[in-house]
């Protein structure tokens, strides 16, 4: 066990990899034997449904009308990609992703830096910060819905009070697209910033304090130290955090479903997939949309991994 652990620590250099010794080969085999079963199970439970969805997406297939199943090749994709409803859902999703990501990154970074500096009570602080993330998304969605709607909400009353009556107490947040999206984004930011800050904290912990001190001695300002020393040193962690949150945000479903149900052009891509598959039982079109969503996620992952050079295996060691 110790031998395996040591070699896995990355002691193999490029030359060693080129001429694998018998021992290394044996260890590689052992690695496959250990990870193999898990890998096979993962293929079964993920690859099979994905392939099946791709297959189904080529049909005009309604669950309640099995006899009417017809192979239409790529017609579902053409229909979906040329439909205004799809692009409306795409835009809505994109807006939510960009807005939440920017706010989460800034706020998450600030919280991470505070957590990194604070010596006492560090553990308590981390626990408190994590509370929103521990709440089930549907529950937090309902909490924000009740907080913002006219009948049960307190938002309007507070805004009314702090603007000295300038803000109407009867403002319907869920009556329009932008006001609905504001509450949806707020809820999303509140819920997932802790996750972001925790990932960033892990990156911050790996920044060499000696470098930072050296920069300080050389007369670097706080901003210079932040941008020239801290950020480059934690780039890997930063990118991993961004990648995870982007992929998560693209699949947003719970919050808009609970708050608006997709009314006022707030339907997201995941909700569109749900509507087609669950309520309309149009399995073919639903699968096509799910595949499109999957491809979007793949493209985002590709951009991050290839263009921003995020190495998921050496997170924190840039």
């Amino acid at each position: 066990m110790t031998a395996v652990a040591e070699t896995n620590k990355g002691k193999l250099t490029a030359e060693e990899k080129a001429h694998l010794s018998d021992r290394a080969k044996g260890e590689r085999n052992l690695g496959w034997r250990l990870a193999g079963p898990a890998f096979v199970i993962m293929l079964l439970v993920t690859l099979y449904p994905i392939c099946y969805a791709v297959y189904l997406s080529l049909f005009n297939y309604r669950l309640t009308d099995p006899a009417g199943r017809k192979l239409v090749w790529l017609q579902n994709y053409i229909t979906a990609l040329s439909d205004p409803l799809f692009w409306q859902a795409f835009t809505t999703t994109l807006i939510i992703v960009v807005v939440t990501l920017v706010f989460e990154l800034v706020i998450g970074m600030a919280i991470a830096m505070v957590m990194n500096r604070v010596v006492w009570p560090r553990k308590t602080l981390r626990t408190i910060v994590l509370i929103p993330y521990a709440i089930v998304t549907v529950v937090s969605g309902f909490s924000w819905l009740y907080a913002a709607q006219i009948s049960t909400g307190f938002f309007n009353r507070w805004l009314h009070f702090f603007t000295f009556g300038g803000f109407s107490e009867n403002y319907n947040w869920f009556g329009g697209r932008w006001s609905s999206l504001t509450i949806i984004c707020l809820s999303e930011i509140w819920k997932t910033t802790p996750f972001m800050s925790l990932l960033l904290l892990a990156g911050l912990a790996q920044v060499d304090s000696a470098q930072e001190e050296a920069a300080k001695v050389d007369g670097a300002t706080w901003w210079q130290r932040f941008t020239k020393v801290i950020l480059p040193n934690m780039k890997a962690a930063l990118m991993v955090a961004l990648l995870f949150r982007t992929l998560d945000a693209v699949r947003i479903y719970d919050n808009p479903y609970v708050m608006t149900g997709g009314a006022n052009k707030t339907e997201t891509l995941s909700m569109l997939v749900g509507t087609e598959t669950v309520s309309r039982v149009e399995i073919g079109m639903g699968s096509a949309l799910a595949v499109i969503l999957f491809v979007i996620v793949l493209i985002i992952a590709f951009i991050f991994v290839k263009l921003f050079k995020v190495d998921l295996t050496t997170s924190g060691r840039s």
């Binding site: 005009n60 309604r62 669950l63 309640t64 009308d65 099995p66 009417g68 239409v72 017609q75 579902n76 229909t79 979906a80 439909d83 409803l85 799809f86 009314a263 569109l272 509507t275 087609e276 669950v278 309520s279 309309r280 039982v281 149009e282 073919g284 079109m285």
Partner: protein, 436 residues
């Protein structure tokens, strides 16, 4: 550690045995062996008693029929979600998944065709068809029939009436003893500065109104309900469709539909009718029991308004049909239970307790029904049911209805071109050329 092993193994073995025993017991009870009554599950829509058997709702009927079966079966009720759309999704998912507990279910007539066409219902015993259609109002039999065969058991059957305040009608000079038209109603409401309660929110109830208006003008939304999606023919783009659009637009633009017409469901329209501004209302018979404002003696009902003057109205048809799932373990017993649940006495009891009208004609002559719907309202419901028009009995009604609601919303934006554009949109959706 070693010493602990034997007792642990003992515990494990006994645990396995207990699990096996309970597992077997569960199998024994559900397979309905000769040892005890068969367990039937009835998926009910929420009503007056929900799962409580002491309130006179479907749970009460379940209990009474279980007791009356002489130990043959025992019915357990499972409550479905509130909205018709959510009920459909739950039933459909279970039926498509081959759930063996789908012995009996209360299905909205709008979705009977969809389930029947998909082959989700157990075939009805031929010798029971006569029993299930005898003494039933015609619209309830129509709604239970798909492709010429009776697919479900007519249970309770609903229809909308025109509710009005006698004082308002008198002030407007409207003779309510004769059939009235929508145009007359709108004029009367304008004259008296009163409002008409309608359902025009983005939900199934709006489709109910649109369908009634089109049927009243002699049209039909779907011309060939049994056709597959690629051969379906729609009748929206017609004179009847444009008549319906004209009336919806007129109710909305004259303001007689109230300020919140576009978000008005049954409850909101009833509240409008109960308010001092309320003069008229089209709604289901539960209105009478649910009317809690002071001037109840001023409330009366008549036949649904005519779309076109001189052409008899086709009031909306609603209600619940009972169906037996294809994977039920006891289809024969389930149909026997359905016969017990829909007996004349049980329908009358249910109508009196829940306010949901019976599909049995004889039930309307019972004293308890006449007491629950006095002043001739019981007879009126019965007459309205005779001419009521069901929503198109096509398997694609779910999609058609959603598309209708979307394209006719908000009501004020409806114009003479709406039926035509809606028709082409529905056809594109059904053929997989547009998303919904």
């Amino acid at each position: 550690m070693k010493r602990l092993r034997p007792p642990r193994r003992g515990i494990a073995i006994s645990a396995v045995m207990v699990m096996a025993a309970t597992g077997l017991a569960a199998c024994g009870s559900s397979s309905g062996s000769s040892s005890g009554p068969a367990h039937l599950t009835w998926y009910i829509n929420p009503d007056v008693g929900n799962a409580d058997p002491s309130k006179g709702g479907q749970a009460t009927l379940a209990k009474e029929c279980s007791d009356a079966s002489g130990g043959k079966y025992k019915i357990k009720v499972q409550l479905l979600p509130n909205s018709a759309s959510d009920q459909r999704i739950q039933l459909l998912r279970r039926l498509a998944g081959g759930d063996k507990t789908m012995d009996l279910m209360s299905v909205d007539p709008a979705f009977v065709s969809e389930f029947a066409a998909a082959g989700y219902f157990a075939p009805m015993p031929q010798n029971m068809v006569k029993e299930f259609t005898a003494d039933r109002v015609q619209s309830s039999i129509d709604a239970s029939t798909y492709d010429g065969k009776l697919m479900s058991v007519p249970f309770w059957s609903n229809t909308q009436l025109l509710w009005y305040k006698k004082s308002v009608a008198q002030k407007a000079g409207l003779d309510m003893s004769k059939p009235v038209t929508w145009d007359q109603l709108i004029a009367a409401a304008q004259k008296t500065k009163m409002q008409i309660g309608v359902q025009a929110a983005l939900y199934e109830g709006y489709s109910v109104w649109i369908n009634a208006l089109i049927a009243g003008a002699g049209g039909e939304i779907v011309k060939n309900p049994n056709a597959t999606y690629d051969k379906i023919q729609l009748g929206l783009d017609s004179a009847a469709g444009r008549d319906a659009a004209r009336i919806i637009k007129k109710v909305a633009s004259t303001g007689v539909g109230g300020p919140a017409m576009g978000s008005s469901e049954e409850t909101q329209s009833l509240n409008l009718f109960m308010s001092p501004q309320g003069g008229f209302l089209v709604n289901w018979p539960y209105t009478y029991g649910a009317y809690t404002a002071k001037d109840k003696s001023d409330v009366a009902a008549t036949m649904y308004p005519e779309t076109v003057a001189g052409k008899a109205a086709r009031p909306p048809y609603g209600g619940i049909q009972l169906a037996v799932g294809k994977d039920s373990r006891h289809p024969a017993l389930a149909y026997q239970a359905a016969a017990c649940i829909t007996s004349v006495k049980h329908q009358a009891d249910y109508m009196a307790a829940s306010g949901n009208p019976a599909s049995s004609k004889a039930a309307y002559d019972t004293a308890e029904v006449k007491k629950a719907f006095p002043n001739g309202i019981a007879d009126l419901i019965r007459k309205s049911l005779d001419v009521a028009a069901a929503r198109p009995l096509t398997p694609y009604w779910g999609d058609i209805s959603t598309a209708l609601q979307q394209r006719f919303s908000p009501p004020n934006s409806v114009n003479q071109n709406t039926p035509k554009s809606t028709q082409s949109f529905i056809l594109r959706v059904l053929n997989g050329k547009a998303l919904l």
